[in-house]
């Protein structure tokens, strides 16, 4: 069994679901002959044909709206946003139409909207975004953010099988940097709504997701090595619905929490997690819940600026030290 990348794992997951279930189809910009801007659907049009791999005009609202209509009729669309930054053009369609369809009209809307998110790639303000906070606040949607190749595959398969609309945010920095050997015989499905302990620890918890998981693991190793501090890393994997049990468990275990996300700080997802911990495990806290995030600016392009704005492993180490010493 060869190692496969995060991107290949995602592609495998998509392909397996399309083979398993003929109701699944893909639509988006350049997903057909070209196989997508990042080649996620490379080879798909050859295998599944034009009828199930639909190249669309540049129209995100139409892509998402059409996916919803097809989903109402029993199909299982997977809509690709060429870069996740363009999901903003479908914001109305997602939050007002898709998210409310079941609640207001009993309309089944099993669909996935996926695309490359995230920075550290010199993509500038419009090719580096992390839109999870923009949708966390929308009842009716589910949001998943894989950090590993296994979850890239397991979560896309789970998302496609889920009966609710799921936003699947894949991190483009991980596409080809993360490799893993996955059993070919196993039907890998990562349950939506379940977090994963990426590293066991006793003294302090870092709660995070997506590419930040890897920085958290780096930081944890350094803290173990240099400070003898034992850090637990919780990879949320799903942001909506949030795995409160896993969050509370790690809080009760280490009593100190650092929440890390790549996205900007104010109004980011860390706020919601802090509130939940505060409400349900206040007595368990031996220190404030601290956040490591991007600075509150549009993500700049120049390496010096991007590196300064985005959270780095060093930041996690610094803040974790403060918290450990608290």
């Amino acid at each position: 069994m060869p190692e496969i990348t995060y991107l290949e794992a995602l592609r495998e997951g998509l392909r397996e679901e399309m083979r398993r279930d003929e109701r699944v189809f893909i639509l988006g910009e350049d997903v057909g002959t070209y196989g997508g801007a990042f080649k996620v659907t490379e080879g798909f049009i050859e295998e599944f044909g034009k009828n199930r791999i639909v190249d669309t005009p540049i129209a995100e609202a139409a892509i998402v709206g059409a996916a919803a209509g097809a989903a109402h009729m029993g199909l299982r669309p997977v809509a690709e946003m060429q870069f996740i930054d363009f999901i903003s053009c479908a914001y109305d369609m997602l939050t007002n139409y898709v998210a409310t369809a079941r609640y207001r009209a009993g309309l089944p809307t099993p669909m996935v909207v996926r695309g490359p998110c995230g920075g550290y790639v010199r993509g500038g303000p419009f090719h580096s975004q992390n839109p999870e906070a923009a949708f966390l606040h929308t009842p009716g949607l589910k949001i998943v953010c894989p950090a590993t190749a296994r979850d890239a595959k397991g979560l896309i398969k789970a998302a496609i099988r889920d009966d609710d609309p799921v936003l699947y945010f894949e991190h483009k920095y991980l596409y080809r940097r993360i490799k893993e050997t996955l059993p070919e015989d196993e039907d890998i499905v990562t349950p939506i709504g379940k977090a994963r302990i990426a590293r066991e620890g006793r003294d302090l918890s870092i709660i995070t997701w997506s590419a930040m998981v890897w920085k958290a693991l780096e930081a944890a190793e350094r803290l173990e090595r240099e400070d003898g501090v034992s850090v637990e890393v919780l990879d949320l994997r799903t942001l909506l619905p949030m795995d409160d049990e896993a969050i509370l468990a790690t809080v009760r275990k280490t009593n100190k929490v650092l929440i890390a996300h790549e996205d900007t700080r104010t109004g980011g997802v860390a706020g919601e997690i802090t509130a939940r911990i505060n409400e349900r495990a206040f007595e368990w806290l031996d220190g404030p819940v601290l956040r490591v995030t991007a600075a509150d600016v549009p993500l700049p392009y120049a390496p010096t600026l991007e590196d300064y704005v985005l959270p780095q492993t060093e930041d996690l180490v610094q803040v974790a030290r403060k918290l450990a010493a608290y």
Binding site: F25, N51, R52, V54, T56, P57, A59, E60, A61, A62, I63, V64, G65, A66, A67, A68, G69, A70, A71, H72, M73, G74, L75, P77, D92, M93, N96, Y97, T100, R102, Y103, R104, A105, G106, L107, P108, P110, P139, G140, K142, D162, D163, D164, P241
Partner: protein, 348 residues
């Protein structure tokens, strides 16, 4: 009377658009039902029994009814607020409409949505949302599913003159045109978008010209002639069914009431309203039936009487029904979990 009617019938010209006599009666029923239902809802509104706003299609009933009547049961449509008639034709029941306006527990959306914002996947109409234009991409997706599965089914989408200004309308119709989806777009041109005249929405002389910008055929017809509307829609629908792609139809009509019941419509010239009142689609159909004798006065009187009792009964029933149970508000946000947890302080 009967004898005279009969003799007229004998001399009747042939019925157009391949319609049968019973169908003419049905059309009459849908037209009248739409108007009567809205009139009685207006009374309820005045009595404060309608919870939200009330939207009228007075004078526009023919375009909704005639176009929807051109569909088969397996076809789909998505109405906007002034297309009550199209929903009735497609199988929505007066009782559902009244319950919905009154936010009753038994309403089709269980009290979650207002006025005619509801749908039925079995009967083939989709519940709209308020955001104008959004239904066009959604219906394109339904049409896409028909095409993918090679089902001989068609989507009919209603938009107002004002809704054509939205980005969603553009993205949806363009998507459908490129994919040659089995879809018919009806632009219901009633002269106004709230207080805004069509000239303030678009610089085109006629909205049908928008078809040219999407590379699809378009037709513009009298929206107040129910048989013409039926005929032109039927043609477009069957063309779409045969794989002929998208057609845009501009139906010319007029919004005789304000945007909603609260709107005093002071901005609409009295004469303009009067002129269109003289062009009322139901009166015109009545006259047409008088002249042709296709459907006798007696028959039509019977239809109206039937509707009266039908709607009154429905209202009587709905009025005494309860509002939804509060906790049901927590159901159905997701398929899983089927009910979300109540807020902790609501346990107490």
């Amino acid at each position: 009377m009967t004898s005279r009617a009969a003799s007229v019938a004998a001399a009747s010209p042939p019925i157009p658009a391949g319609l049968r006599r019973e169908q003419l009666v049905e059309l009459y029923y849908w037209l009248r039902l739409t108007r009567t239902l809205e009139e009685k809802l207006t009374n309820l509104y005045r009595q404060g029994k309608v919870i939200g706003g009330l939207f009228r299609s007075l004078g526009q009933e023919a375009d909704s009814v005639g176009s929807a009547y051109a569909l088969r049961p397996a076809d789909f449509l998505s109405p906007l607020i002034r297309n009550l008639g199209s929903m009735l034709v497609k199988g929505a029941e007066p009782l559902q409409i009244v319950r919905q306006y009154m936010a009753k527990a038994e309403s089709p959306t269980r009290g979650r949505e207002l006025n005619i914002h509801f749908g039925d996947l079995e009967k083939g109409y989709v519940g709209q949302i308020s955001h104008l234009g959004d239904m066009v991409p959604v219906m394109a997706g339904i049409a896409l599913s028909f095409k993918m599965r090679k089902e001989p089914r068609v989507c009919l989408v209603y938009v107002g003159d004002g809704a054509t200004s939205t980005g969603a309308f553009h993205e949806g119709i363009n998507f459908a045109a490129v994919q040659r989806l089995p879809m018919v777009i009806i632009v219901e041109n009633n002269g106004w978008a709230y207080s805004t005249r069509t000239e303030q929405q678009t610089a085109v002389k006629q909205l049908v010209d928008k078809a040219k910008g999407y590379g699809i055929p378009g037709e513009r017809v009298d929206g107040n002639d129910v048989l013409v509307v039926y005929e032109v829609t039927k043609r477009a629908v069957e063309k779409a069914r045969a794989g002929g792609g998208v057609t845009l139809l501009e139906l010319m009509t007029y919004r005789r009431k304000g945007h909603a019941e609260h709107d005093a419509q002071g901005y609409q010239p009295k004469e303009e309203i009067a002129r269109w009142e003289a062009n009322d689609p139901i009166d015109r159909y009545d006259r047409q039936l008088d002249e042709t004798g296709w459907v006798t006065r007696e028959e039509r009187a019977a239809v109206r009487a039937r509707i009266e009792t039908e709607v009154d009964a429905v209202i009587a029933q709905a009025e005494n029904e309860p509002f939804p149970e509060p906790e049901t508000a927590l159901d159905g946000v997701y398929a899983h979990p089927a009910r979300i947890e109540p807020l902790w302080y609501r346990h107490a």
